[in-house]
């Protein structure tokens, strides 16, 4: 009854991906801070890009962890990643400009504790468990924080809990019309949880190739960005939200086309269904 999970060898070493993922996502998430510096909302889409970079890292970590065979399926790793990540992300958001760093540290603590418990109490005894769950929690936190910053244009807690509604022409401060008060975080949670686990869940098996898995991870990230960009129309100005939407749609279309190309490269054969052309002059 055992289904072996097979992982392809080769590709970029995991440690290198960790460094790229960590530095890249932190830099990108801090680029959304340009919104506060310049007083605009045009840089919100960098939050989504940070999420995509973090997802690339997370997909590779899940590949490492799940190659040991957890017995619970790949999605559980994505769920625990976002479960611990969302707590860290919102805790981090309360610290203003230090939000990404604090979220990272808190996520590392929660993830490491979960990993230690999994190895030493639940006795999974998987060598990479502690480091993998730590990485996954950090990825979860950065993903949530990135998408939250994309929706609200900021990762500052006080700005995220207050929104404005227009009643009879007057702008009124309202907690209901805010990113957190509107429970957008719950939507982001699920969008990110599905995106993080899908890539390896779909690509695992004989002939798994790292570049194909990671391309699918990026595709999932951009796909999650699209609904987030649509939601952001409610919270940030029209033009910045439109920029977010364009970036996510273009990114998704590109990664999707690339992923199909890579899938065809790795496939034994495929069928390109073409419409049957009517002969000239009628049948």
């Amino acid at each position: 009854m055992t289904v072996k999970i097979e992982v392809g060898a080769g590709g970029i070493p995991h440690n290198q991906i960790v460094i790229y993922g960590l530095v890249g996502s932190l830099v990108l998430i801090y680029l959304t801070y340009l919104n506060q510096v310049t007083g605009t909302e045009y840089f919100a889409f960098f939050g989504g890009l940070a999420c995509v970079v973090a997802l690339l890292w997370g997909a590779d970590t899940i590949k490492h962890l799940c190659s040991y065979g957890l017995g619970t399926g790949v999605p559980s790793a994505g769920m625990i990643a976002l479960g611990s990540g969302v707590i860290a992300a919102l805790f981090g958001a309360t610290t203003g400009v230090f939000a990404p760093i604090v979220a990272l540290i808190v996520a590392a603590i929660i993830g490491a504790v979960a990993g230690l418990l999994a190895n030493h109490v639940v006795r999974m005894d998987i060598p990479v468990m502690v480091i993998s769950l730590t990485e996954l929690a950090i990825v979860g936190a950065i993903t949530v924080l990135g998408l939250v910053a994309m929706v609200g244009g900021t990762f500052n807690f006080l700005d995220l809990v207050t929104g404005t509604t227009v009643i009879l022409g007057f702008a009124v401060k309202s907690y209901e019309a805010s990113v957190i008060g509107g429970s957008i975080v719950a939507v982001i949670f699920m969008l990110a949880a599905i995106a993080i686990q899908h890539a390896f869940n779909a690509c695992l098996g004989p002939g798994e190739q790292q570049d194909r898995t990671l391309m699918l991870a990026a595709e999932c990230g951009f796909l999650s960005m699209i609904p987030v960009a649509v939601i952001s129309f409610a919270f940030i100005a029209f033009i910045p939200a439109l920029i977010s939407l364009l970036v996510s749609v273009i990114g998704w279309a590109y990664t999707y086309a690339e992923y199909i190309k890579l899938s065809k490269r790795d496939a034994y054969a495929w069928l390109d269904a073409k419409p049957i052309l009517e002969p000239k002059g009628g049948a």
Binding site: G71, S76, I80, G83, L117, A118, M124, F189
Partner: protein, 283 residues
């Protein structure tokens, strides 16, 4: 046997390592002390409630008949999906029930959560059997025990060769409902404790009334409850390593490990959720 090839499991239950136990106890004590230091007695009691909620979730997951991929092929008893999906379904349904009943008082909200989770599992288990029996044409037979402990039905005559049993016997149905109810109860308990904390702290922090901040408090408590629910459910899933038939399964005896892990994980995640508002406005 796991659906996706678990780590080597030796006979019997491996007890937690000394280091694991020590870390768990230290983490719980540190978290309780921090909660008392940050929010005084209310914080301490809230964290105790969160830990109890987490333990209920971790314990409840062991009742749920999880079949995984083999169950989808009718080769193992249980519901044909992973622990994380089932737990998320039952937990979210329980949370909806509990959150809806929250204004009606503490006991009624807890009962609402338990009924929500139990009801979802009851419907799921019933429909699973409808599909198994009328759609796939297979009878319910457990592979782990010869007789149903509740109804006394015998299984070996109905069990197909080469399978570990199939369908969903009555004992598994009962297990599913009990597990869903415990999960919903635990999730709702976490939600209510966090809601109390936020409703007590936020009005002063934001200079608003309890009614005005309700959307933020409910949304934060809800998403944290979901996050902690998934953390505990996945740790319990790691404890089960794949599939379980219900309370009659020999794997059920492993639950003490999951209880320790869930208590420590909820304590660590809970202290960040309780201390969420401590740093607002500091930076």
């Amino acid at each position: 046997m796991s659906a996706l090839g678990g780590p080597a499991q030796t006979a019997g239950v491996q007890s937690p390592t000394g280091m694991g136990l020590a870390i768990s106890i230290i983490l719980i004590i540190v978290a309780l002390a921090l909660a008392f230091f940050l929010v005084q007695m209310a914080g301490l009691l809230a964290l105790v409630g969160i830990i109890i909620g987490g333990v209920l979730i971790g314990f409840g997951v062991h009742f749920v008949p999880v079949g995984g991929a083999p169950a989808a092929m009718g080769q193992a008893p249980g519901i044909a999906t992973g622990v994380a999906m089932l737990a998320a379904g039952a937990g979210l349904a329980g949370l909806f029930g509990g959150a809806w009943a929250a204004p009606l008082g503490f006991p009624l909200a807890l009962a609402g959560g338990a009924i929500g989770g139990g009801l979802l599992m009851a419907i799921t288990c019933t429909m699973v059997n409808v599909i198994y029996i009328f759609g796939m044409g297979i009878p319910a037979a457990s592979g782990k025990v010869a007789k149903d402990p509740i109804t006394g039905d015998t299984f070996p005559e109905y069990k197909s060769q080469g399978t570990e049993g199939h369908g969903l016997p009555f004992i598994s149905w009962v297990g599913g409902v009990v597990g869903g109810a415990l999960g919903g109860l635990g999730g709702t308990l976490i939600y209510l404790e966090l809601l109390d904390i936020y409703q007590a702290q936020m009005p002063a922090l934001l200079g608003a009334t309890v009614e005005q901040i309700a959307p933020i408090a409910i949304s934060l408590a809800g998403v944290f409850a979901v996050g902690m629910f998934l953390m505990n459910a996945v740790l319990a899933a790691y404890n089960i390593t794949g599939t379980i038939e219900g309370p009659h399964d020999p794997k059920f005896k492993r639950f003490p490990r999951a209880i320790i892990a869930a208590a420590a994980a909820s304590a660590v995640a809970g202290i960040f959720a309780i201390g969420l508002l401590e740093l607002v406005g500091v930076f």
